[in-house]
Amino acid sequence: MKKQFAPLIIFAVLVLFLAIGLTLNPQNVPSPLIGKTAPQFELPQLNSAERFSPQQLQGKAWILNIWASWCSSCKQEHKLLVDLAKTQPYVIVGLNYKDTAAEANSWLQRYSDPYSVVIEDAQGKAGIDWGVYGVPETFVIDTHGIIRHKFTGPLTRQSIEETLIPLMQTLQSEVQS
């Protein structure tokens, strides 16, 4: 009796493992940077002679969104970012990754600009330091300059409402207390 069921049990265990495997997203590689100080960089701002470095936002919780005009899923999340910028007072820094100023500008004109500041990483050097491998990526940095969360791939309405906004609220209350 027991023997007959053995293959069935093995099969069931296998199905269970495969089912768990199917629900995981292989693109979601845990970032080793979470809980660490945000990597520094100094990059030119788009349409401005000034440069930007994360140090300038010390003491503020902010969002770093990495995007490019050649990235099609950036278009998907862009609407959501525009909405977010309208409804929330967050500092959203847009890092234009491996792109040209002309392309970036026409893209922002066409789809509107939700960013507090846009910086250019034409060589992708800062991207390497931040462990960027799939644009769009979004980082949340707290008031002490520590990376608290990373979204790989396009933001969704759900991930913004359930993760991003609550996290930003806790980070901002940290500074008031």
Binding site: P30, P32, G131, Y133
Partner: protein
Amino acid sequence: MKRFLILLYMLLFSLPLFAAIEEHRFKTPQQERDYRQLIDELRCLVCQNQNLADSNAELAQDLRRQVYSMLVDQQADKQQVVDYMVQRYGDFVLYRPPLKTQTTLLWAGPFLFLAIGVWFLIRLIRRQNSMDDADDNS
């Protein structure tokens, strides 16, 4: 002969021939060895099942350049390059994952399965032997 010529033409115009070739100059043969080994063992995170050597993704090109400049310009050793990559991309960037508590199953798993297999094999052989004995007795 004709077949041979066709084959020759096909080989001459096969796609890999047209693949982009990056030229790198190394100061020492050691550097070149390290470079080859590193791009062989580091994963391209965009295309996940390819290493840096095989992948033509933009990120893979950038990371190859980074590996090269660390080895040649900054005189870094292999471990420094590996640490640099792991700091940014995590252990996932390594095709040869380090032995840690999280990866014990990964490393011990094959031996575990081997042990289970051997156990079943021994049981099977024993049972067959005892069946043969039973046959002999009858």
